[in-house]
Symmetry: C2
Subunit: 342 residues, 2 copies
């Protein structure tokens, strides 16, 4: 009736508790034949170790560290807040979270800091990855030292990271196109795309996905060359203003980076009936307000709270030797209109 314990395993395998313990915790000093007997007994009984009891006995704490880009980036500061609040929430569950900030877009600095990590002082790492061989090497070293690493928000697929927690930006771009295309379906014209910079991977991917769908599904809409707004509201306002003045058949705008205040400014004089349909990225105070006022039609978002919790769960699974896929909740591309804002 109640689930089997180590005692039951020992009994049916015909060995002592110590031996079961050796097998269970991967200690050596067990003959291959005996090991197989014990494993067979565990399979037969369907034994599952009681993680709560094990952790109690081990006095285990999961010491996890997050490496985030420093600087004023609102999104990353949001992630940091989320890590901190998640950390205090999960303290009773034996999870200890700490944050280390590193210079943004600086692969060597990140690699340096990863190399400085003492594998004894930490049980798992979540890293917003920068693409470079040095970072990959540092991750490999940590993984070999028994410290699992997951990538967060920005992936490094060919590294030895155990898991990636974040959204697929091509999907995000395709979703934006699906929305904007339908919003403008019976109103042919031009569509403007505003990015921060096309040297950032996620922006490139969003643009790519957006164009894939626009070209194949909404041929009556013409996608104009991408404006680079440098995630700066003033730049965005200037460039978009010029574009609006030059093209009176602009029916849609896709803003896939930051600087959305610039979009709002550029359009504040346009009468509502003539205003193009607008789809933007990330829920921030400004985009929320613009959705509520009817200025923006939709916002694509990734739930950072869910991402942080997902990273913690994935790391815990890796530390316990389980599969991070099973532990992780799907993190999807979210669509928000005025009425379903959280």
């Amino acid at each position: 009736m109640s689930r089997p314990t180590v005692h039951d395993v020992a009994r049916t395998a015909g060995v002592s508790l110590s031996t079961v313990d050796r097998v269970l915790n991967g200690r050596d000093g067990v003959r291959a034949a005996t090991l197989e007997r014990v494993n067979a007994a565990m399979r037969e009984l369907g034994y599952q170790r009681d993680v709560a009891a094990a952790n109690l006995s081990k006095r285990r704490r999961y010491r996890l560290r997050f490496f985030l880009p420093e600087g004023p980036n609102a999104f990353m500061r949001g992630v940091q807040d989320e890590v901190e609040s998640c950390g205090s929430e999960m303290w009773p569950e034996r999870v200890e979270l700490s944050v280390e900030t590193v210079p943004p877009f600086d692969a060597e600095a990140l690699a340096e800091r990863l190399r400085a990590v003492d594998p004894e002082a930490v049980d798992g790492l979540a890293v917003v990855a920068t693409d470079s061989a040095a970072v990959m090497a540092a991750i490999a070293r940590l993984v070999e030292a028994g410290v699992p690493v997951v990538t967060l928000v920005s992936d490094l697929p060919s590294s030895r990271r155990g898991y990636f927690v974040g959204i697929d930006n091509v999907v995000a771009g395709r979703t934006a196109a699906g929305l904007l295309g339908r919003f403008c379906r019976f109103r042919p014209g031009k569509v403007a795309v505003i990015a921060g910079s096309m040297v950032v991977r996620d922006h490139v991917e969003r643009r790519l996905g957006f164009e894939q769908v626009m070209r194949s599904e909404f041929p009556t809409l013409e996608v104009m060359p991408t404006i680079e707004g440098l995630d700066d509201a003033d730049v965005v306002a200037d460039k978009l203003g010029a574009l609006l003045a030059a093209h009176d058949d602009l029916v849609g705008i896709y803003s896939l980076g930051a600087g959305n205040r610039g979009v709002i400014r550029a359009l504040s004089d346009t009468p509502e009936a003539e205003r193009p349909a607008i789809v933007v990225h990330e829920l921030t105070p400004h985009t929320r307000e613009a959705l509520l006022s009817g200025m923006f039609d939709a916002a694509i978002n990734q739930d950072i709270g869910r991402e942080v919790r997902g990273a913690v769960r994935a790391l815990r699974a890796l530390i316990d030797g389980a599969s991070p896929e099973a532990a992780g909740e799907r993190i999807g591309v979210e669509v928000f209109l005025r009425d379903n804002l959280p």
Copy 2:
């Protein structure tokens, strides 16, 4: 450094372990003054009981039961699958889930089954509520017997349920209108609404939210009287087919219940260019396929996995005497197009 234990509390309160234990577990035989001393010590130390250790000692199991409508309803079968998979996942966390199915839309049958529940055999209940006094009475009886009840998907706000896990259906309806209105903005005409039955609370609420937004924001679209499809594909196909034949200016369809296979059947002969924009509810194998083929434009969804886990967490919190609000993750109204399907 490490967190305080009962021993620390006992020491700083100047009482024995037994007394702390009595306070902690709400047993009597403790003078008011002593109780206050113990509480003060716990506050001072910031004591938090180690739930894992407590449960280990108590050999506690959380036996939870889900009451779901039976029948071919794909959404409810999805919930059931989710409960079952969640149940096996959470077995190591001392949670035992079971499912009982009851005739759909049948308040008396549900009440009957709730009355038959033995409060000793179960620690908590999650119920997809049907609106009726008998159900409310049955819930009240269970709560009084010490078995917390949460409502799932469909609420019964005036009952004694400890929590509701599900989406705000007015918001869902408003969101659907925001989408459908934008999809049809430049193509005036009629919009059809298909519900399962207007005696189910969630359907009524969706319809309400839908109309609020349609009337105030999209006056060029005319919302037709609701079709009741009884969540049955055949009925839906018949009634919708008749409607399509009678009105050639139908530009949008909002299907807020189940039976979406009927919508697909009714529209399979309509050429794609003339097809109305379609927004439906719930991701099921059928709606997914229709989104992928381009038959449906968008689906409003509630994440049933998240809901089931939310219900489990809420029940566990209620059983432990904690607040279900704190335990619950926000469950939002999700929007899916073809490209951001999970």
